[in-house]
Every structure is written in C-alpha cells, then in structure tokens.
C-alpha cells in the first residue's frame, strides 16, 4: 500500500502542480483580490471590503454586459441545441448525400472563431454584404446590422449558433446510435408514428446527452467570445459587449485589475453553481461509467 502512495504522489505531482497553479490557486486569488483595491505604482493594494462589488452595481457598462450575456445565452443555448438535434436526426436517417450533409454541418466547428468572425463580417456588411444583396433582390433597403445597437447582439449571436450547432450534433449522433433497433421495430408494430416514437422513446433516451450538451453550451456562452474582437469590439454603444470581453478590456486596456477580479468572481460563481448542479443532480442521470 505504502508503495502505491509514493507512486501516486510521483505520478500526480506534475499534473496537479500545473492544474492547481493555473486553475484552482488563481481562482482563489481572484476571489481575494476582488476585496482589494488595484495597486498603483508604489501604492500597494489595500483591503476595501465589498467596495469593488458595490462599484460594479453602479457601473452601467457592467450591468449592460451582464444583460447582453444573459440574452446571448438565453438564445444561443436553446437555438444551438435544437438545431444540433435536427441535424443529428437528418444525418442519422441515412439520406442521400449524407457525407456532404455531415461535412456542411460540422465544418464550422473546426474553424477558429477569429476566422469565423472575418467570414461573417463580410456577410453583414451594409449594402455590399451577402445578406443585404439578398435583401436587395426583394427591394429591401440596406441595413447596417452591426452598426445598429438594436440588432448587433443578434449578429454575434447567430455566429455562435452557427459555430456550436455542428459540434453539439456529434454528441446527439453518438446518442442516437445507441438507441436499440428492436425498440424502433416494436414501436412500429404497436402502430406508433414517427413523432410519437421521437417524443416517447428518442427524447427520453437522449436526455443525458442533452444535459451534457447543455452544460457545455452554458460554458461556451461565457467563454466563446473571440468573434467580438473581429466583428464589433463590444459596440456600438456597448450593445454587443459580453462579460468576458468586458473583463478583458477592464483588465488589459484600463488596467483596473480589482474591478476585473470582482467581475471574474461573477463568472466563477455561475460556473461553480453549474459544477455543483452537475455534481449533485446530473451525475445521477448521466452515467459516466
């Protein structure tokens, strides 16, 4: 037994040091710095209690970013999950041109978000962009989709759905393949239609996959924001500013690390809730072993 302990220590040491050094310890440090002021030159950080958080509550830009991110999540998550399921059902039904379909759905997944941003930027460009050219065919006026605070959030949102759906499709595809064929035959004998079969058999059986995808979709709605850098830079009027982008700007353009830490704690809080939820609730439904 003792020999096992020593082996385990030696085997785990490098991985655990790096894991904790770049995840757990910085997470704790972030929480601590959120209660301190930003150090300036010779003036070291001093304890300010919850001042950073109170300041955030009065910061309109931060509140705006939170709202934007909520809308962003509330639309991209269900949209990409539903489209992913539809894609998987299409690909699973073995129709003509299957490999083209699968390629078309999945390709956005392998592209970098920056490249994706570039591609879509030209799509949305007023009058010359493809969307406006199609609108012109129907005599609709040119529209500055990314320049209008009312529509800009939807442009970055569409891009996220486009990028994510194909990725989530893969997981549904894997789940659909585990549904036993006899079930389908039995349902047919019982006279169940396709829709009934989908609702009563398929949907419950792929529930664990849906939950797994849901968790990933929530994480992506916080993390996957690279296209903002190319497409909108959070503008106009902060209308497409998302939380992580705002943290980046606060920390690395205004060097206000105290505020940035307090905002990071907000994200950490959401992710921790997710982790706890998965631990206590999901684990019972998703079988890992």
């Amino acid at each position: 037994m003792r020999r096992d302990w020593i082996y385990a220590l030696l085997l785990l040491l490098p991985a655990m040091v790096l894991l904790m050094g770049f995840t757990h310890i910085p997470a704790i440090e972030t929480v601590i710095s959120s209660f301190f002021s930003t150090p300036h030159g010779r003036r070291p950080a001093h304890f300010v209690g919850i001042d950073n958080y109170l300041y955030l509550l009065e910061d309109d830009v931060f509140i705006r970013s939170c709202w934007n991110n909520l809308i962003y999540a509330a639309i991209t998550i269900p949209a990409s999950i539903i489209i992913a399921l539809v894609m998987a059902l299409f690909v699973h039904s073995r129709m003509a041109g299957l490999s083209f379909l699968r390629m078309a759905y999945f390709t956005p997944t392998v592209l970098p978000m920056i490249a994706v941003g570039n591609i879509w930027l030209f799509f949305f460009t007023p009058s010359f962009g493809l969307i406006d050219q199609i609108r012109a065919l129907f005599d609709l006026p040119a529209q500055n989709w990314m320049g209008d605070p009312d529509t800009v959030l939807y442009t970055v949102l569409v891009v996220a759905v486009w990028k994510n759906a194909g990725f989530f499709m893969i997981f549904y595809l894997a789940a659909l393949q585990t549904i036993p064929e006899p079930l389908r035959e039995a349902a047919k004998l019982e006279g169940a239609g396709r829709w009934t079969f989908f609702r009563r058999v398929t949907l419950p059986l792929i529930m664990p996959t849906t939950l797994f995808i849901l968790v990933n979709a929530i994480i992506n709605s916080v993390r996957l924001i690279d296209h903002i850098f190319i497409m909108t830079l959070g503008g106009p009027n902060n209308a497409s500013r998302l939380l992580l982008y705002h943290i980046y700007e606060t920390a690395f353009e205004y060097w206000d690390t105290a505020s940035a830490s307090a905002m990071t704690v907000v994200i950490l809080f959401v992710l921790s809730l997710l982790a706890i939820g998965q631990f206590f609730w999901l684990d019972r439904k998703v079988h890992y072993k």
């Binding site: 302990w5 299409f90 129709m95 003509a96 978000m113 030209f122 595809l173 993390r223």
Partner: protein, 277 residues
Amino acid sequence: MTAQDTSLAARLDRVLMTFGAWLLALLWILPLAYAVWTAFHPSAYETNFTLTAPLTLENFPKAWVQAPFARYFLNTMILVAMTLSAQLVLSTFAAYAFARLKFPGKTILFTLVLLQLMVTPDILLVKNYETMGTLGLVDSILAIGLPYFASGFCIFLLRQTFMTIPKELDDAARIEGEGLIGTLWRVYIPLAKPTYLAFGLVSVSAHWNDFLWPLIVTNSVETRPLTVGLSVFSMTESGVEWSVINAATLMTSGPLLVGFLLFQRQFVQSFMRAGIK
C-alpha cells in the same frame, strides 16, 4: 389507411426531410462558400457573382507577404505540438494513478481535476497573466501553452479508458518484470490508442483556434500564433481588400480544414468518443 397511402405518405415524408436537410446544409456552408469565392476571385468580383468570373490564386501570395504568416504558422505548430505532448505525458501518469492506485485523498484530488472542466484557465486572465509575469514568461510560446499542460479533460478521458483495461494484463506485465513505465508503454498506451487519437484531435483544434489567452500573453511577431496574427492583420486600418483578408482567413484555417476533410470519419468519431464518457 391503405398500404399505398402509407407508402405515399412515407415517401413524401422522406422527400420533405431530405429537402430540409439539404436546405439547412446549404445555409450552413454558405458563409464558407462565400469566403472561398472571394478568396479565389479578383477583388472586383467580391460581390459580383457571375459564374464566368476569372479564377485567381493571387490573393494568397498577396496576403502572405503583407504579414509574417510563415512565422505565425511556425509559432502555432510549436504551440500545438508542445501542448499536446505535455498533455499526453502528464495525463497518462495522472490517469494511471487515478485508475489503478489506492491512496488517501484520491476522491478530493479527482474532484479538483473534474472542476477544471468547468473553470478553465482562460477565464482567470488576470491572475494567470500575473503568474507568467512572475515566471518571466510573458511574450513566449511556452506561456501560451503552459496553463493547458495539465488537462482535466485528458486525465478524465484516459482514466475512464484505463479502468476498462483488465487488471490481469497489468499483473501479467509485472510478472514479466516490467516496471511502471514499461507496463504503461506495453499495456495501457496501446490499448488506449483510440482515446489518445480522439483527445489529440480535440486538443489540436482547440489550441490551433485559441485566441484570447495568446492575445493577452504575447506581443511580438516571434511568439504570436496564427489566430492573433490574423486578427492583427485584418484589423489594420490600411484598407486591405476583402479578397485578401479572406485568403488569409482560409490560409490560417487551411491545415485544420484540409485535415478535417481528409479524415472526416475519424474526426467525427473522435469528437464523439470524447463526448461519451
């Protein structure tokens, strides 16, 4: 309902579904097709879709000389290779300990590993940047990869795979006189090959595409990966033509895209395998 009715309904159903599937696929491929169109045509045809438009390759060399893409490619390849090798080695060791050894604190440590699936290093920008400052690594390729060397995801995947390997094989290797490294090399690693491949593809595409952390931690041509280089290139105000930007965009995603098209089946299967735990 007669048999003929059902077959007619079924056929109609089939046609509608195929139609829907193709419509969605065309919609999904449209942005990429548009990028390909502009990249392979002179800039005059950026928004003018005539089938007779002359094809050209000149946008690619134009983009290539306007920014140090060769260096960016090299940086990204170093980054991806370095990160993946470190991840595989460290995770193999850790996964073996979690799968086969008994030691105190195992559950807590494994929970910490799983936590990294949620709280990833790229959210902790400020502190990790400070750490790199302390280590004197700011603006180095090592700094881009280092936070990802220990991958919770890889440890988890390998542990799940190792647990399915019969303990008897392990014992047999030991009886033949293999040490720990030998057993890993002769028994565990060969049997877990599909998992290694799956994780490898996921990791390479993730780090090839990563942007925010490299943007923060690099600030010179010698260290910038392709994604950051591409963003610098396309954000310059000098009025670079669309067709050239799109050529650069395709170029930087090219190797992954070609790799994906060639190994489509393995790619999709790998992602699937990585998803089913």
